[in-house]
Amino acid sequence: MNHQFLPNNEESRREMLESLGLSSIEELFGCCIPENVRFKGSLDLPKPLSELEARRLLTQIANVNKPVSQMVSFLGGGVADHYIPAAVDHILSRSEFYTAYTPYQAEVSQGTLQNIFEFQTLICMLTGMDVANASMYDGASALAEAVLMASSATRQDKIVISQTVNPQYRETVQTYADATGLEIVEIPHKDGQTDLDAMEKAIDDKTAAIAIQNPNFFGIIEDPFPISKLKEKGKKTLLISVVDPLSLGVIVPPGDYDCDIALGEGQPLGNPISFGGPHLGFFAAKENLIRRMPGRLIGQTKDVDGKRGFVMTLQTREQHIRRHRATSNICTNQALNALGAASYLNLMGKEGIQEVAQQCLQKANYLKDKIEALPGYSIPFNGPVFKEFAVKANRPFEEIQKVLVEKGFLPGIHLQPYYDGMDDWFLVCVTEKRTREEMDRFAAGLEGV
């Protein structure tokens, strides 16, 4: 077949066959593919389309989707509809930054390296931790890497993880654990928060780490101090904390409660939801764990003339020389997404992040009170919430979703697939973008189901 986008034409095919000493492609395949498994006849495919026709068809298919920009979204669970300042997109559109790949050649990559260095610095400032890496794939893989790192640093195999950690993150951890022989012990929740007594009982000398999420998957702000204290129950037990980066504008950062590894989903920082990715994970730790950190680390140094410069650092450790003994196979980072996150943090500044966090907190609590007052709905958990909260309905969630989507709302995440006994429960997320008018209409919509 000849086609403008296929590099092989009749002549190149003839040349290749000639050098193989064959006369036709049939003869080539005839030598090795048995007759009875060969497909004869022509494929049942529609006629080719012109570029214009193909574009028309694909647009039609794309229009079946309802983009978040045309809906009022209350979807959360790690990825949420936060505002992205226009300047973020402008910076991201600079083609100099168009690579997701690791900048090995420092002399031609100073801009990219400086950006990653700033990203790391900003993540440290936000989390209160000592060191941060150049980013991970997403929050879920960041948690899985943290678990592996804790196991390798403590040379212990048991991980105690709260069920208030995002269920999808826990699934990812389980996938890693199955392959590496880690023992994962899940601690049930009590009224939507980590059951401290159960957690304390589960920790022993073999416990490599305790993993929690704060605010947790149900949106509840847990008290991390007593959980951190539980580390003493183990021998070398580390504390891993999954955090919503924007929540750190109002709640205590992991660095303040003796957390060893802090990580999370970086999407809320200037990255669009875009169907679930690409996003980025952020990953920070105490300095004594720096050599165990997965992924890339960018450091600041001086060049031969004494000028400030940036390079990849501590590389000998993992992927280059000790690949066979590396604790992680992550060799890359989400540089462009991290650029979006760093730009967002720089544009918002300290006050901006606090403002966003406060608006999330206040608006979520406004809507929570409003829904609690509705007939047929209740708020099942008592703890204080940041930007998400669980709702219990007395009618099937599918019904609620169907009616509200038609009204232009994405009502939230159904909790039933993730937790037993939560059949008609759903998780509502309220970002700074939601207006009072939208929330009032949403509540009226819920009431009308």
Partner: protein
């Protein structure tokens, strides 16, 4: 360069038996090959290893290598000074640059190691 009173391994480590415990470190040749040592990862006191097990890691500006037990035993002391001054491994490999002290499980394993002369032959 290669003191007579020490025993040596194929992995370029030395061991010195002294008052019931044995000190372990890297040889002159090993530290030269590694280049400037920037970090030594030590085991915990009390950990037990078999002969040949990896008990730690030494990181230099150009490479990272595992440290192996010359003979089986229990770690009774670690050189904590290496945390702040890993360069001791380069500057004084048989003295301040020692890495761990162990309680040997089976002294007969020492017979499998090389003396200074035999070790130096392997370097030729």
């Amino acid at each position: 360069m290669y003191p007579e009173e020490l025993k040596y391994t194929d992995d370029h480590e030395w061991i010195r038996v002294e008052n019931g415990k044995a000190y372990v470190g890297l040889t002159q040749y090993a530290q030269e090959q590694l280049g400037d040592v920037v970090f030594v990862e030590l085991p915990d006191v009390g950990e037990e290893f078999e002969m040949g097990d990896s008990f730690g890691v030494v990181e230099s500006v150009k490479t990272v290598s595992d440290l192996f037990m010359p003979v089986g035993g229990k770690v009774v002391e670690i050189n904590e000074d290496l945390e702040d001054s890993p360069e001791a491994v380069n500057e004084d490999p048989y003295g301040d640059g020692w890495i761990v002290a162990i309680e040997i499980a089976d002294k007969s394993q020492l017979d499998q190691l090389m003396d200074s002369e035999a070790y130096q032959k392997t370097l030729e």
